[in-house]
Amino acid sequence: MSQLHRESVLTAIRASLAKVVLPDARYEPPARPSPPTREVPTDPADLRAAFVAELQALSGQVYSPADHAEAMDILLDVVRGCEAEVAIAWDEAYLPLPGVWEALAAAGVRVLDSTLPPSSDEPAHAARLAELEQATVGVTGALAGLADTGSLALPSGPGRGRLASLLPPVHVALLPVARIVPTMAAFFASHPNVVRRSSNLVFVSGPSRTADIEQTLTLGVHGPRELHVVLLASAL
């Protein structure tokens, strides 16, 4: 049935386009327009500074540890600060800081990956969701940072669940500083296949927020209330 309507919708569109009653000359150029070029910073120090400034303006916390040991301390401080007993984390292979799972476990935190059983197995699915909902903190890596908007690019994939950056009230992201790119356009240019590989790519710009009641800013609606980004000096 829906395929039948496909032809009918497309035919209606073609009929309208053939009428060309559009008085607008802007319809004329048939070639795809190319965007205006724009000066963007490319120096790594400038990119990093821009990313940090933008993210802080969005109420994100940014840390620049000197080495991996200090990075781990920062992570554990955040975990202790929110009294986390349960955490959701990406698989070790996708975290640019080695030993996260072990360190969290040593700190008395139960670490879960966000694997959900198939929904056909309803009781197991519901039980697992209830378990994941207990998590106070989510730990992820990031594929990139966007300097001009202070955003993180988080792709889904095996070992990289969506729920780690969504369900818990606190999100810690580990980002190698070399992965900061100037803009979203630059990100797509350097990762041309990213949406083919991941069913879900999300750009996260600060903690969850709303202004639906009288335009009063409130943080932490459905997504995390806190976003901590730990910048790592050396890429994995």
């Binding site: 829906s2 309507h5 496909r6 009918s8 919708v9 497309l10 209606a12 569109i13 309208s16 386009l17 009428k19 009653v21 559009l22 607008d24 802007r26 795809r32 327009p33 965007p35 205006p36 724009r38 933008e54 969005l58 694997t115 929904s119 699915h125 519901a126 955003s151 889904s156 095996p158 990289r160 669940g161 969506r162 969504l166 803009t183 979203m184 356009a185 797509f188 949406v195 083919r196 991941s198 069913s199 879900n200 790519l201 999300v202 750009f203 996260v204 710009s205 969850s208 927020r209 709303t210 202004a211 639906d212 009641i213 009288e214 335009q215 009063t216 409130t218 609606v221 459905h222 997504g223």
Partner: protein
Amino acid sequence: MIPPRVPFRQRAAQALADPALRVALDRAVDHFTTGRARAMASLPGADALRDHACRVRAHTLSRLDHYLAQFAEAVEAAGGRVHWARDAAEANQIVLDLARSQGVKLVVKSKSMVSEEMGLNHALEAAGVEVVESDLGEYIIQLAGETPSHIIAPAVHKTKEQVGQLLHEKLGIPLTHDPVEMTAAARAALRRVFLSADMGVSGVNFGVAQTGTLCLVTNEGNGRMTTTLPRLHVAVMGIERLVPTLDDLSVMLQLLARSATGQKLSVYTSLLTGPRRRPIDPGQPGEPDGPDELHVVLVDNGRSRILGSRVAEILYCIRCGACLGVCPVYRQIGGHAYGSVYPGPMGSVVTPAMFGIEDWADLPHASSLCAACRDVCPVRIDLPQLLLNLRDEATRAGKSPRWLRWGIRAYRIAATSPTRFRLASRLATWLTRPIARRGWIRRLPPPLSAWTDYRDFPAFAAKTFSQQWRDRR
């Protein structure tokens, strides 16, 4: 959509007489306009980018059949299912059939104007399926049994005192005037819904033709929840909402949030390409979470007809809402007085174009044609011109008031001969002299009272221009 029984003039008068509405609009609307101005100033070359965005929209629409077919193929190649609906009833039926065939009892929704246009919630509820809105503003108006009054801030017409009272009554929380406490209560209530819903219904901000990607932006995270937790994700989307490539998407995203809320980018910009990926080999891991099925409902509902009309340009619209906040009419009467789910300048074009000028002939007149909307439109839609085109159509359809037609006829008789014009202007001066006070006329008899009920009319000069001209020579 069913047109309101009460005429626009009366609806506007009711809105103007509502003190709480005035408070709510005064408190909120300036945030939008100042935020937008600041955010646009932060974008280097913003005007050139808006020109470009306009060209991208024009290009896409001039090849809509091609891009739509390409998009549908790409969605299916990524494992999604595409459904085509010619009108709202078909679209509702498609969603309803999906819900029925999969035994869905609870649907959670993230904000979608197309679904409002379709009346989807009613259709689902009538079939016994429970629907809960998850955008905070939409949730508030759903609890209140109302419709959105703004396309991106649905509860902008409510004061915090009203929202506090509503949540107190509906959720049983202590009475509060603190938006933070209200938000926490809504979060807790909606968390339970997210965890138990069988189907998530979302709108689509942009579809990327090349990759079959759906782009969805939210600030609260409800869009991510809706498209991640329930096993079924159904996205409803107007057929015009396409961009050719990811590069074009990045152009639109630089403008959308800036124009809408004054942000450089919304907090969550999700790019969804198909459902949760299954493992390629049984031994390998697939994606750990996400919906098992993705359905995209492509909704025409008049759009293909608009494409061939004199207001085709309105299809460029990316639903940012910037034209609402700057419109002097919207700022006074709010969204509900328009009687349509699409209010403000864009709504005054979309509504008659989509649902028929016969029933909505007064909306193109809900504008002073000051062109503030055209100045802020990120894709440079010439909204005042489109409103004029629709006024013209309304007149041709015989929908203009009789007194206006007579008035125009009388004016034509007077204005097409110098002698008659001089006579008429002298007559006007003479007739209004007794009622003019300090250069203003405050009250005129009907039908001219339509003007003086809401604003003063400048008194005619004691000497007409041609008299003054003669005197000076």
